[in-house]
Amino acid sequence: MKTISKNSTLMAWFLVLPALLIFALMILYPFANSIFTSFTNKNLIFPKNDFVGFENYIKLFKDPNTLPLLFTTIKFVFFSTICPFTLGLIWAILMNEKFKASEFMRGLTLVNWIIPGIAIGFLWNWIYNGDYGILNALLNKMGIIDSNIIWLAGKQTSMVAVVTARTWQMFPWYMAFIMGGLQGVPNELCEASRIDGANNIQVFTHIIIPTIKPVLILILILGTISNLQHFDLINVMTDGGPERATSTFAIEVYKKAFKEYNLGRAAALGVIWAILLGSFSFIYLRNLKEDN
């Protein structure tokens, strides 16, 4: 261990300083200030900024749209985590078989995750397009539907559409983590239990799953956090519509602040959102601590 002289402590702080300054200016101060803003009637256009106590929270509490917003967020987050997680797990198992094209295919899948959300949103808008989209054309041809579905305009189908696009974008990310986990599975143990008569499913549930469980838990938590923050795809595809059917906290806070200019109300909604996110991050931190 490095000797702790006064000199090196100075150097240590000097090195953190740039990070700390940027962090304080762009994250810490705005966060603290937003909590304060949630108790004011601050507005982006009108120069008012008075303390109003809990008024914003009470208004939100009475607003019939708040509870559905919470449910929609939970629905979006739940399916946008579970679906790509499941696909990622299966795809990781397949790619782990190391067949001829597996490395190439793995790299190609990860492209979904790396390209801009806006491109993904446009792509799925085009696929789901009611009149000329390829999805309706395919379903028509296969005889599954006989009239076109306007996917992004339906209250149920719009959520399905957004979750599908999010799944397409994110399942490679889950795959990458799970493949990392699979490398830690002791092959001798799999062989040994097979000699004892275990079949594939037993090997999977008794050896593979327990070994990669920490990774699985980690990505479920991280995935949930990132979906709670997610903005891009919903913004591009439905903008929270139709009739708020896909409106999550990320969309609603943005709209309240920058379309309705009601910063106070947006901040109050954002604080509730932060509490939701905070509770998941708490689980993440506790999980990290247990691992170490």
Partner: protein, 275 residues
């Protein structure tokens, strides 16, 4: 890992076809659409009649070129700044012990869970007061701040693996703390630093929310927010143009990724797991 039983083969082929189609068909559809002549926009055809005129049209659209240029500049500067700032902080967290260290580390980590929309509620008026709205440096600073948590924690994990004895040896040889860090330890953590450089580049290149909120003039827009404005209203039905722009927007990150995916993915997963 698995026995190649009949059951496993059925499982393998079913999902390789189903998930493979789900993963790759949309990619191909995007490229195929971007290469169609405009007259065939609404025809269901797949890689027939190649026509580069739409890619050309987008690449000669002066607004779009501006978005590309701004986006590239913002992404490169954010990436370099974020890597440098994260490396310094990560080095400090890894190689020094001092009061307040764990608290600072914890709060940087937790900040990932601060809702970005909530930050913007205060960031916008703050930057407005500073005269920084609609200025590219403000989004660059925001991207550096937002990529700091992953950056510092990942690089700290890399520096942790470099034994202190190397630094001590350098010290004995008369190198100062700073030279030891720059010339000896950081080159050893090069894979980690590349990971963070790519991560921050991709973040800045792909970001929509901050660019949409903090930038308001066309000439200053970066890629994602610029594309939104190009293809709403009149441009809203120009699907070929949209796909062409999407392909162009995806190329830089996709290329970068193909070359560097191996240690990028390993670096990111390692950082998150070791945290």
């Amino acid at each position: 890992m698995f026995q190649k039983s009949l059951g496993f083969r059925i499982f393998f082929w079913t999902f390789i076809i189903l998930i493979g189609f789900f993963a790759f068909f949309p990619q191909l559809w995007m490229i195929s659409t971007s290469l169609k002549p405009e007259t065939e926009m609404y025809k269901i055809s797949f890689f027939q009649n190649f026509d580069l005129s739409n890619l050309n049209r987008i690449l000669h659209n002066s607004d779009f070129l501006g978005y590309l240029r701004n986006g590239m500049m913002v992404a490169i500067i954010s990436s370099l700044l974020s890597t440098a700032v994260s490396a310094f902080a990560g080095y400090s967290f890894s190689k020094f012990r001092y009061k307040g260290r764990t608290q600072v580390m914890a709060i940087i980590l937790i900040s990932q869970a601060f809702p970005q929309g909530l930050l913007l509620v205060s960031l916008y008026p703050m930057l407005q007061n500073m005269g920084m709205i609609d200025k590219l440096p403000s989004i660059i600073l925001a991207y550096v701040a937002l990529t700091l948590p992953i950056g510092t924690w990942t690089l700290k994990a890399y520096f942790d693996q470099i034994p202190n004895s190397i630094m001590e040896a350098a010290c004995i040889d008369g190198a100062s703390d700073f030279t030891t860090m720059i010339k000896i330890v950081m080159p050893l953590a090069f894979p980690g630093m590349t990971t963070i450089a790519i991560y921050s580049f991709v973040w800045a290149w792909n970001d929509l929310l901050y660019a949409l909120t903090l930038i308001s003039t066309t000439a200053k827009r970066t890629l994602a927010s610029g594309m939104i404005f190009t293809f709403t209203g009149e441009g809203g039905n120009d699907w070929i143009g949209m796909m062409a722009a999407s392909v162009i927007a995806s190329i830089p990150v996709a290329i970068m990724f193909v070359f560097l995916q191996r240690f990028f993915v390993a670096g990111l997963t390692a950082g998150a797991v070791k945290g």
